[in-house]
C-alpha cells in the first residue's frame, strides 16, 4: 500500500528530560521521524518538555509545544490543532505510556486521531511479562522459565519452583528499573518486597537467571504487507546478567555461525509478525547458551528503542526515518535505500567493518553508589567506534570515552595486583574490560577469565593478542627501533601514539613523528550499508589504517565542528543542540560543514545534518589526520562543551585556526589566576580564592579566604569533586581525596558566598558589540551547581541595579576577553542589607563557549541564537546585521531532572557537584503560578531531592 493520503497532520511525542535509560537517542529518532514526515508534505506537531532537543526546533517541526508530557497537554494541542494521527513510537517508553494513557481515556477517539506505527495490544503483550511468556511459547519459541507474582506468597512459591540464581523484575518499569538478581535464598525476601513495591501494578516476574548466556540483539523493520528485514545484529560482549545499556556491544555479531544466526533470524521474524499489526521498528533480544546454542527470547520492544539509534549509526540505515514512512502506509519495497539512493530500502545492511559501543558511566557523581553492574542500567551515555577489525574498534571506543584513557590500557592506569583484578572480573564494574586485559597481562589463564566473566573466549583471545604485541613492543627502546610492519600492525589494532609512547617510556611526539616518517597514516572509509557493493552517496566516514582513502576533500572552503563526545552529567544533549545549529549556520554561509563526533545517540552524528561526518573519537590524534586531509579554514570549539574546548590549546600550538574567540582569550578565562587579575583590573568583584598544590597550602589559603570555602580541582567538568567545607578537618580530607584521584591537578579554594543568589548571563559578542541573550536567575541559593538549580528566565527577584551591574560586567568581560562568539558569565549576588546601598555582584566564572543554558534561552525566546553566534564567530556577520526579536512569554523555568532511583543507597543531597541528568522547560505566565510558588517555597530545602 502506498502512502495513506488521509494523514495530513501528525503529532510526534518526545521522550522528555534525559534520564538514565532514556537519553538523546530519542531526540535523534524524533527529529528523523519529523523530517521524514515533512518530506511527504505532512504537517508535523511536536510535544516535548525537553528544551535542549533538536526535535523541538523550528528547523524540525511545524508546530512545537514545549509542554509537560501529560494528557492535559495533549488535550491542549488537540483543541488548538487538527491532528490526523499520533506517532508515539519515537519517544521511548515515556511517549508510549502517555499515548496509551490518552488512549485509555478515549482522548484519541474523541478528537478523531489515529495512533500510527503502534499496536496497543502488541505493547501490552510485550510489557506484561506473563502474557509475553505465554505468547512466545504459543508461537513455538522458548523463554526462560518464569512465574508471575502479585503477592509475597506467590513470589516465594515461584522461587521454590525455579531455584537460585533467579531474577526479580517489577512489571511496567523503564530500563530494567528495580530488576535484581537473587543469588541465594537469604537475599530473596528483601528483594521480592522491593520489587513488588517498585511495580506500579504491584507485580513482579520471577524468572530463571540465564547468567553467562550469550546475548544478541536484533533490530527489525516491518511494513504493512508484513515484509520484515533485520537491520542489524548486535552481539553483547558482556553476557546475560548485565543490562544491554551497560554492556559493551559489537556489530556485526562476532561469534554467530550462519546456522545459528538464521535460526535466530527466523525466530525474530516469527515473533515480530505475531505481535499485533503495526508498521515500524522492533527490537528483539536473545540469549544463547554457549555450548548447546539453545536460544531463548529475552525481550521484545515493539518500537524505536535505544538500540535503534545505535543500529542506525552502525549500519548507515536510518531506522527512525524509514519507520516513520512505514507508519504512514509505505511499504519497504516502495522506498529507496537512503544511502545509495538507487537501491531498495527493503534489504539488510551488510558491514565491512566492526563497530564497538561502549557505555560511559558517571559513578564518581554518585558517592556511595553501588558500582556493580547488573540488570538495571547505570550508564549515562555511550560512544561508538568503527574499525576494520574488532580490536581497532575496541581501542577507538576507549579513546572516545573522554575519561583520559588513550586506548585499552597501556596508559599507566593499569592495575598490577592479580587479586584485585580477579575480584573486579567477578564483581562487574565499569572498568571490567580494562581489568580483563590487566588479567591477561598478569598471566591469568584465558579459561579462568572465561569462568569469571563468561565473556566469549573469542573476545578474550582477541584482547590477548594485544598483550602479546605489547610484550614484543617493550623490547624496543625508541620509536626508530620498531620495525615498520610491526608499527603498522600496532596502529591497525588501534594503538594510539600515546599508548606506544607509554609502553616505551618515550614521548608521544616522538612516536607520532616516526609514524609519519614511515607514512603510517589513517585512511578514511565510507559507511554505506552495502560493503561497497553499490555506489553510495552519503558522506559518512571513519578512519582506519588501510590502503585506499575514500574521503575526497572537495574544493570548497570548510569549517570543522567538534562534538561533545559521550553524554555525561554536566555535558549532555545541550551541546549537541549547539553543534547541530552551528553546522546549519556554516552550511548557510556556503562553507562545507564537517562534523567530528563519536556519540551514536546524537543528531549531530546523523549523516544528513553535516555536509560530511567523521564518526571518530574527539581525540587529538584522530582529529589531526582529518584536519590534514580536509585542510579546513578553521575549527569551531565553542559548541561542543568542555570536550572540544580543551583541545583548543593543541590546535593553537599546531597552528590550526580556531574560529571565533582566540585560544589566548579562552585560556585567560579558564586560568583562575589570570582571570582574577583581569577582574581586578576591570574593577569587578570576585570571591577571594587561592590555588594550592598540597594540603598544607590548602589549609593556609582556606584560613586566609575564610570558611566556608568551596574546594575543587582546577580544569574539571560539571563541578566534579567540588565541595563546600567548613573547617580544616573537612578540607584536609577532601583535598587529599582530590589529589588521590587527580594527582596532577591543582586545587582551587574559593570563598563561599553564603546565602547569595546566583544568576547567569549568556551573550554573543562580535568583538565590538555585545548582545545579552538572556539572564537566568537561579531559584536555589548559591552552593548548588548551576546545572542542578531550577532557574528562571528572565530574572524574577533581582534588583534593577543588580541586573544593570551584571550586564555591565558582562559587556566589560566580553570586550576585554575579545570574545568572538559565545560567552557565559556566572554571578553571585549579595543583596544589600541597608537601603540605598547597592546589591553587590560578584563574577564567579566566565565560560567562553556555548553553555548549558544557551539552547534553553534560544527555545524560550524563539531566537536562533546559536546560528547567529556561529555566523558571528565566522566573522561573516556582525550583530548589527541581525534583527534579533526575542519573544518572551511570561517566565520560562528550567527544571533539573535526576536519575537517583537508579542508585539506591546514594546520598541524594545536592551541592556544588552536578548530579542531574536532564532538564525540562516549563512556561508560566506570572509569579503567582502554583508550580513556581512550590519551587520557590522549597528553595532552601535543597539538601535533598
Amino acid at each position: 500500500m502506498p502512502r495513506d493520503t488521509s494523514i495530513q497532520s501528525v503529532l510526534i511525542i518526545g521522550s522528555g528530560p534525559i534520564i538514565i535509560g532514556q537519553a538523546c537517542e530519542f531526540d535523534y529518532s524524533g527529529s528523523q521521524a519529523a523530517r521524514s514526515l515533512r518530506q511527504e508534505g505532512i504537517e508535523v506537531t511536536l510535544i516535548n518538555s525537553n528544551p535542549a532537543t533538536i526535535m523541538t526546533d523550528p528547523v524540525t517541526a511545524d508546530h512545537i509545544y514545549l509542554l509537560p508530557l501529560t494528557v492535559d497537554s495533549l488535550v491542549q494541542i488537540l483543541e488548538e490543532r487538527r491532528i490526523d494521527a499520533v506517532l508515539p513510537t519515537m519517544g521511548g517508553q515515556t511517549a508510549l505510556n502517555l499515548a496509551i494513557e490518552a488512549d485509555q481515556l478515549g482522548i484519541w477517539q474523541k478528537y478523531g486521531v489515529r495512533m500510527i506505527g503502534v499496536d496497543v495490544r502488541a505493547i501490552d503483550l510485550t510489557e506484561n511479562r506473563e502474557l509475553f511468556r505465554r505468547h512466545i511459547l504459543d508461537i513455538g519459541l522458548k523463554v526462560s522459565p518464569s512465574y508471575i507474582a502479585n503477592s509475597f506468597l506467590e513470589g516465594k512459591e515461584a522461587a521454590q519452583k525455579i531455584g537460585f540464581p533467579l531474577v526479580i523484575r517489577p512489571s511496567y518499569t523503564l530500563g530494567g528499573t528495580g530488576a535484581a538478581f537473587v543469588h541465594e535464598e537469604s537475599e530473596f525476601d528483601a528483594a521480592l518486597r522491593r520489587g513488588l513495591a517498585m511495580s506500579p501494578t504491584h507485580e513482579v516476574l520471577v524468572d530463571k537467571a540465564l547468567l553467562g548466556w550469550k546475548e544478541f540483539e536484533l533490530e527489525l523493520l516491518r511494513d504493512s504487507a508484513d515484509n520484515v528485514v533485520i537491520i542489524c545484529v548486535v552481539e553483547n560482549l558482556d553476557p546475560m546478567g548485565i543490562h544491554t545499556g551497560d554492556s559493551i556491544t559489537v556489530a556485526p555479531a562476532m561469534t554467530l555461525s550462519d546456522t545459528a544466526y538464521q535460526t535466530m533470524r527466523n525466530q525474530a521474524i516469527k515473533a515480530m509478525r505475531s505481535l499485533g499489526n503495526f508498521s515500524g521498528g522492533c527490537n528483539i533480544q536473545f540469549a544463547v547458551e554457549p555450548e548447546t546454542e539453545e536460544m531463548i527470547v529475552v525481550e521484545i520492544n515493539p518500537r524505536v528503542s535505544r538500540s535503534s539509534a545505535l543500529a542506525s549509526k552502525a549500519t548507515g540505515y536510518p531506522i527512525a526515518k524509514i519507520a516513520a514512512k512505514l507508519a504512514i502506509g509505505y511499504r519497504l519495497d516502495e522506498l529507496p535505500n537512503q544511502i545509495t539512493g538507487n537501491t531498495s530500502a527493503y534489504f539488510e545492511p551488510t558491514l565491512d567493518y566492526v563497530i564497538v559501543k561502549m557505555p560511559r558511566w558517571n559513578f564518581e557523581k554518585f558517592p556511595g553508589a553501588e558500582h556493580r553492574l547488573g540488570l538495571q542500567m547505570k550508564s549515562v551515555g555511550e560512544v561508538m567506534a568503527i574499525g576494520r577489525n574488532f580490536l581497532e574498534a575496541l581501542q577507538k571506543a576507549c579513546q572516545s570515552l573522554e575519561n583520559n584513557r588513550t586506548g585499552l590500557g597501556a596508559d599507566m592506569k593499569e592495575w598490577i595486583r592479580t587479586s584485585d583484578v580477579l575480584e573486579r572480573l567477578e564483581n562487574v564494574s565499569e572498568d571490567r574490560i580494562f581489568r580483563l586485559k590487566d588479567a591477561l597481562r598478569l598471566g591469568v589463564p584465558e579459561k579462568t577469565i572465561y569462568k569469571l566473566t563468561k565473556i566469549d573466549p573469542w573476545f578474550i583471545r582477541q584482547i590477548k593478542r594485544l598483550v602479546k604485541m605489547e610484550e614484543q613492543l617493550i623490547r624496543y627502546n625508541v620509536a626508530e627501533d620498531i620495525p615498520e610492519s610491526f608499527f603498522r600492525e600496532l596502529k591497525k589494532v588501534g594503538y594510539s601514539d600515546a599508548q606506544i609512547a607509554w609502553l616505551l617510556r618515550i614521548r608521544e611526539e616522538d612516536v607520532a613523528r616516526r609514524r609519519k616518517e614511515l607514512g603510517i597514516r589513517r585512511t578514511f572509509k565510507m559507511v554505506d550499508t552495502c560493503a561497497a557493493e553499490f555506489e553510495a552517496q552519503t558522506p559518512y566516514f571513519y578512519s582506519t589504517f588501510d590502503q585506499e582513502n575514500e574521503s575526497m576533500p572537495s574544493q570548497r572552503k570548510k569549517i570543522v565542528v567538534l562534538g561533545s563526545g559521550p553524554n555525561r552529567i554536566g555535558q549532555g544533549i545541550e551541546f549537541d543542540y549547539c553543534c547541530v545549529h552551528g553546522l546549519l549556520a556554516i552550511k548557510e554561509l556556503g562553507y562545507e560543514a564537517i562534523m567530528i563526533n563519536c556519540n551514536p545517540e546524537t543528531v549531530s552524528t546523523d549523516f544528513n545534518v553535516a555536509d560530511k561526518l567523521y564518526f571518530e573519537p574527539v581525540y587529538w590524534e584522530h582529529i589531526e589526520e582529518i584536519l590534514e586531509l580536509e585542510k579546513p579554514e578553521g575549527v569551531i570549539v565553542q559548541l561542543g562543551g568542555q570536550t572540544a574546548l580543551k583541545l583548543a590549546e593543541t590546535f593553537h600550538k599546531k597552528g590550526i585556526p580556531i574560529i571565533g574567540t582566540s585560544f589566548e582569550s579562552m585560556d585567560l578565562a579558564e586560568d583562575r589566576g589570570a582571570f582574577s587579575d583581569l577582574l581586578r583590573e576591570l574593577d569587578i568583584p570576585y570571591p577571594r580564592y587561592g590555588v594550592a598544590t598540597d594540603a598544607d597550602e590548602a589549609i593556609r589559603i582556606a584560613n586566609q579566604v575564610g570558611y566556608p570555602v568551596l574546594v575543587r580541582p582546577s580544569y574539571v567538568l560539571g563541578g566534579q569533586n567540588m565541595r563546600i567545607v567548613i573547617n580544616d578537618n573537612e578540607l584536609e580530607r577532601h583535598v587529599l581525596n582530590i589529589f588521590k584521584h587527580l594527582p596532577d591537578n591543582r586545587v582551587l579554594i574559593d570563598q563561599f558566598l553564603d546565602r547569595a543568589k546566583e544568576a547567569e548571563i549568556d551573550c554573543i559578542c562580535d568583538g565590538d558589540e555585545v548582545h545579552v541573550m538572556g539572564i537566568m536567575e537561579h531559584i536555589e541559593p548559591a552552593g548548588i551547581h548551576s546545572g542542578d538549580s531550577s532557574a528562571v528566565l528572565p530574572t524574577y527577584s533581582l534588583s534593577v541595579q543588580a541586573i544593570a551591574t551584571m550586564v555591565e560586567y558582562t559587556e566589560k568581560l566580553a570586550k576585554s576577553l575579545k570574545i568572538k562568539g559565545l560567552l557565559n558569565v556566572q554571578f553571585a549576588i549579595k543583596p544589600s542589607k541597608t537601603p540605598g546601598e547597592p546589591d553587590k555582584v560578584y563574577v564567579i566564572e566566565a565560560n567562553p563557549r556555548a553553555s548549558r543554558t544557551t539552547p534553553f534561552i534560544a527555545k524560550a525566546y524563539k531566537v536562533p541564537y546559536l546560528q547567529i553566534a556561529t555566523q558571528v564567530m565566522l566573522g561573516a556577520k556582525k550583530l548589527r546585521d541581525f534583527n534579533i526579536q526575542p519573544q518572551p512569554s511570561g517566565f520560562a523555568i528550567k527544571v533539573p531532572v535526576f536519575s537517583f532511583e537508579k542508585f539506591p543507597n546514594v546520598d541524594i543531597s545536592l551541592g556544588p557537584e552536578m548530579k542531574s541528568t536532564g532538564e525540562a522547560i516549563r512556561f508560566i505566565r506570572d509569579l503567582s503560578d502554583p508550580f513556581f510558588r512550590e519551587l520557590d517555597s522549597k528553595r532552601s530545602m535543597y539538601l535533598t531531592r
Binding site: V233, M254, T255, S257, T292, F347, C530
Partner: protein, 367 residues
C-alpha cells in the same frame, strides 16, 4: 615474534592492479576469476558451494574464521573456491560445536589465501572495472612472473565448469518410500538443496550433468530439478537440450541459479555475463505473484536477459524481480509446470525467506 613478522602474499589482478598482503591458509599459488561476497555469516558454506568453482573469493566481512569450522556445515565434499581474499583471517575461534580453525581447514585442503589486504578497495575496483581474472601467491612474489601465470588463465565467459564439479556416478538421497521421486541434474548442487527436497517428502536420484534424459526417465521421476553450478550456462549445450526435453515432457521442473539460466536458454531467452554479479545474503527480491518480498541468498555472475524475457511474455512469465536493479530473479513457463529462480531458496548461507519455493515444487508434483 610470530605476531609481527609474517609471510607475505600478493594478489595480482588481470588489469595489473597489485595488492600486497599476508599469506594465509596453505602456501602456494592459485588463479581464478575474482568475485566478492558481502555476507556477514556463512563463510564455510560459501567456501564449499560448487558454484564458486574456479573463483577467487573476496569476503567483505571484516573477520573470517571467528566461529571456526564445523565438519557438518558444508555444501559439498570439499572447498570449491579457488582461493580466498580477506581482511582479517581470524585463526582463534570460538564455537563449542566447531571441529577446527580456519587455518587448519585451509591447510588440510591445500587452499591458498591472502589476508590483510584492503578488501574494500578491491570490491570498489571490481565494482568499477567488472569481474576479471586474478592470481594469489604466497610463493612467487615477483609480480612479472605472476603476470605470465595469469595470462594462461581462461576467461570465465564461455567456460563450461559444471562437468568438473558434477557427480561422476548417480546416487540416491532420502527415503525410497517417500511420496515423490525427483531427478536432480547435478551441475554442482549444494547439499542443502537436496536437504530441502528430502525434508518435503522427496526421494532423490542425483545424476551426473551430462546424463541423457532418456536414461533418467527410466527411473520414472515425478519431477526434475536443475541445480546451481559454476561457469557460463550458454556453453552448456547438453544441459540446454536436457531442459528443452524436460519441457517437452511437461513434467514438473524446478531450477535454481544455473538451473534457472538453463531453463531460460531452453526457452530461447539468452543469458549474459554480468558486470560483477550478485553474491551475498541480503539481496531484495519481490515476488510479483504474491506481492511479498523476500531477502535472498545469491551467487551468480551470469543473468537472464531482461529484454528478451519481456519479448517472450507470451511464453514466459516473470515471477520475481530484484528490487535493487530490477534484474530477473524468477520465471515460470506458461502452460507448463516449470519454474525457476536465480537466487538460492535453500539459503545456506543466508535467510530462509524463500524456502516456500520447494513447497511450490512439491505441489506441482502433487497435482
Amino acid at each position: 615474534m610470530q605476531e609481527s613478522t609474517y609471510e607475505p602474499a600478493i594478489l595480482l589482478l588481470e588489469d595489473g592492479t597489485v595488492f600486497h598482503g599476508k599469506a594465509a591458509g596453505a602456501i602456494g599459488t592459485t588463479t581464478g576469476e575474482i568475485c566478492f561476497n558481502t555476507g556477514m555469516t556463512g563463510y564455510q558454506e560459501i567456501f564449499t558451494d560448487p558454484s564458486y568453482y574456479g573463483q577467487l573469493l573476496v569476503t567483505t566481512n571484516a573477520h573470517i574464521g571467528n566461529y571456526g569450522i564445523k565438519a557438518s556445515e558444508v555444501e559439498s565434499d570439499r572447498m570449491k573456491i579457488a582461493g580466498l581474499i580477506c581482511k582479517n583471517f581470524t585463526v582463534p575461534y570460538s564455537r563449542h560445536a566447531a571441529d577446527q580453525s580456519i587455518q587448519e581447514y585451509f591447510e588440510a585442503e591445500g587452499m591458498v589465501a591472502i589476508s590483510e589486504v584492503d578488501t574494500r578497495a578491491i570490491v570498489r575496483h571490481i565494482r568499477h572495472r567488472g569481474a576479471m581474472n586474478a592470481i594469489i601467491s604466497s610463493e612467487i612474489l615477483d609480480v612479472e612472473a605472476l603476470h605470465q601465470r595469469l595470462a594462461d588463465v581462461p576467461s570465465m565467459e564461455g567456460l563450461e565448469l559444471a562437468s568438473a564439479v558434477s557427480t561422476r556416478e548417480p546416487y540416491f538421497v532420502g527415503q525410497p518410500d517417500a511420496p515423490f521421486r525427483v531427478a536432480v541434474y547435478d551441475y554442482g548442487v549444494k547439499r542443502n538443496i537436496l536437504q530441502c527436497l528430502t525434508e518435503r517428502g522427496c526421494y532423490l536420484q542425483v545424476f551426473p550433468a551430462q546424463t541423457p534424459l532418456d536414461t533418467v526417465k527410466t527411473w520414472n521421476p515425478h519431477g526434475y530439478f536443475l541445480s546451481n553450478g559454476p561457469g557460463d550456462p550458454a556453453s552448456m549445450h547438453y544441459a540446454i537440450q536436457t531442459a528443452k526435453a524436460i519441457l517437452a515432457e511437461n513434467a514438473p521442473l524446478f531450477g535454481i541459479c544455473l538451473g534457472h539460466q538453463l531453463l531460460a536458454l531452453a526457452l530461447d531467452i539468452p543469458t549474459h555475463k554480468m558486470h560483477h554479479g550478485h553474491r551475498g545474503i541480503n539481496h531484495p527480491v519481490k515476488n510479483l505473484l504474491t506481492g511479498r518480498c523476500e531477502i535472498t541468498s545469491q551467487n551468480h555472475g551470469f543473468g537472464v536477459s531482461k529484454d528478451a524475457i519481456a519479448a517472450a511474455a507470451d511464453r514466459v512469465e516473470v515471477t520475481h524481480i530484484n528490487l535493487n536493479d530490477g534484474s530477473i530473479e524468477g520465471l515460470r513457463v506458461r502452460g507448463k509446470r516449470a519454474f525457476s529462480v536465480q537466487y538460492h531458496p535453500e539459503a545456506s548461507p543466508g535467510p530462509h525467506d524463500a524456502r516456500y519455493l520447494f513447497d511450490d515444487f512439491v505441489s506441482l508434483m502433487q497435482n
